[in-house]
Subunit: 375 residues, 2 copies
């Protein structure tokens, strides 16, 4: 918690304060507590952070949270609520009572609470410290992401094995007597993830022309000789960390266009992996891939390389740093995806996505799964 | 969208503006679009709401969102980003460019964006309109929750059937040669939910003394003669709506304390269901249950009835109205849980949770699953 400590002291604040449920990644990071009800986090300089929870959550928070725990009653909220019915004003009074001085808050702090709090104490926004801390993963965090990635690869192999073993009937993939669908592959992969304690979300299994749109989830029967894009980004239930992985495969004979795109994307991924290291910007790596694709005749407009090269992954599936047009300087400890893709409306798309950690010597890819188009 | 329209006009605003990913329930509600990347929503008086997305998301947003769709380029963001590197300032300039007048925002609007926006246009917080709209479910929304609830009951029956059919060996439940664990029951229920297109979260399968703490997830072998609390709150993948359900069961012979608590909780649930109707406050219904329990000798401190009677359910698993000490006036269209519980540290706990919709004539329970302690 050193960067946070420094930010508090540099700004001359009496405390760092955050608010939200654990769907808010800042709160999850600061407290390592999973809760559907919003909680208040307060950290004073030189002290451990404290989380304010309901009486009912006290025991669980004590067992599970990395922060110290205080009940709302202890924080004075119950007394305040007797005279103050507005929830935001009551919370602001509670926080001001605990802190008694200038407060530093993260950018996503709710405006209603910030406004009420501003009438009691001075409120300043921390735009950089918490973001930078979260972007620089600890060894423990990398371990959690590595674990989710292992489950993700097991799920990917389950899905790809179904496609590899599928029969082909009148241009459609089949499983026994029925067509093999996007939904069947997705469900089988999700079962693997669940058994591993991970929750999947919006997994993509798209096929044919659908694959030209990188975020279409896909539905219906899978086709032979067409690209199939599988993009999985599950979250570990216990810790909240994500991983993110994509493969493009084809059962049968892909078109020459798709073959060329696959080769280009694979080379681009290797080129990027060789360039990602501490000190370069995400923008530089992105531009290198843009230039590489441009030499092959692929643009960056509504077809070609239509998205960023990668993004940070942690308690959010998309977080800083970006490997895109406004990509920041990369630092040791960043965990980022390396996911070039090429898309041609009417034909289809190809994407390969690995995840890795930036170490002293460069980019260490955590993804072990092979990259093969034709099954 | 009538209440929102009214709020915009009443406040003399040029537009309602929201910001976030679809993890933000306000954004999900306003756009019905599922996205991991934050988007901007702008609604001017008399016009349909518009969502601003990246070029890559344009096609999908057009297909899936209930709002009109505009790309960031069309909204002017790409031009602004060429001269303005700060993301929050760039977004504020884009919004001010689109709206050109006073802006109304929801309470959770990010403070960093509100602050930048305030330097360009006047920003006012809507504390009531959107909250009230979301609390008053449409028939379509009730249909979605009913559908999730049906999947939830199928999962519950799967879990309870495993407990019903379990063997008993030296005080532990068993399945074949191995002990039946909390994790096994949870995994089986989650498979049912996944097949139904729902994502489970933090499902509780707790047993024995663990059940005295309402939010402990539970782990390890399940015991005979002890209460087992199963609390499931899955979310529909496609629409984002939740349901919420709890049953307490026992394989074998529960203690007299647990039997008494179960009877009291079941009666309390019936009593509450008879009182929930438009015009009464959540507080009144909560107090009626508190009084009922008090007559039986159960308090509301660290043992007894330690939580609220219920809460709204929709795009968040806990939302307004509350059936608790600060519970609002209930209105037609509210979907709320009715979940009395009693907890005795060292002994265990009992909770029964139904969900229902408040109609003209009273409370219509959507939950159909029976309430039986002894299997």
């Amino acid at each position: 918690m050193d960067a946070l400590e420094e930010a508090i002291q540099r700004s001359g604040s009496a405390a760092y304060v955050a608010f939200g449920s654990s769907q808010d990644a800042d709160i999850r990071y600061l407290t390592m507590f999973s809760t559907t009800d919003p909680i208040v986090y307060v950290k004073k300089p030189g002290e451990q952070g404290t989380v304010v929870v309901s009486q009912m959550e006290y025991e669980r928070a004590r067992r599970e949270s990395t922060a110290a725990v205080m009940t709302r009653a202890e924080a004075g909220l119950l007394g305040i609520l007797e005279e103050e019915k507005d929830r935001w004003r009551a919370l602001a009074r509670m926080i001001a009572g605990l802190v008694q001085g200038r407060v530093l808050v993260p950018p996503h702090f709710p405006y209603a609470l910030a406004k009420e709090l501003s009438s009691l104490v001075s409120v300043e926004i921390d735009r950089t410290a918490l973001v930078a801390m979260r972007a620089r993963k600890s060894e423990w965090e990398v371990g959690r992401i590595r674990q989710v990635q292992a489950a993700t690869e097991e799920a990917m192999e389950t899905g790809i094995a179904m496609i590899r073993k599928a029969g082909i009937k009148s241009g459609l993939l089949s499983r026994g007597a029925v067509p093999l669908t996007s939904g069947m592959v997705r469900a089988a992969m999700h079962q693997v993830l669940l058994k591993k304690g991970c929750t999947p979300a919006d997994t993509i299994v798209s096929c044919g022309e659908e694959t030209a749109f990188p975020h279409i989830r896909g539905e219906g029967a899978l086709k032979a000789d067409e690209p199939i894009v599988i993009d999985i980004f599950p979250r570990d239930d216990q810790t909240g960390y994500y991983s993110d992985m994509t493969r493009t495969v084809c059962r049968g004979e892909p078109s020459p266009d798709i073959r060329d795109m696959f080769e280009a994307v694979r080379e681009a991924q290797d080129l990027a992996a060789a360039r990602i290291r501490p000190g370069v910007t995400g923008e530089e790596v992105y531009r290198a891939v843009v230039d590489f694709f441009a030499d092959l005749g692929y643009g960056t407009g509504s077809s070609g390389f239509v998205h960023n090269l990668g993004h940070g992954v942690g308690l959010e599936v998309h977080e800083v740093p970006s490997l895109g047009p406004s990509g920041e300087v990369l630092v040791q400890g960043n965990v980022v995806t390396n996911e070039p893709g090429l898309y041609m409306p009417g034909t289809g798309g190809v994407r390969l996505e690995n995840i890795g950690v930036i170490g002293n010597g460069g980019f260490f890819t955590l993804t072990r799964y092979p990259r093969e188009l034709v099954l």
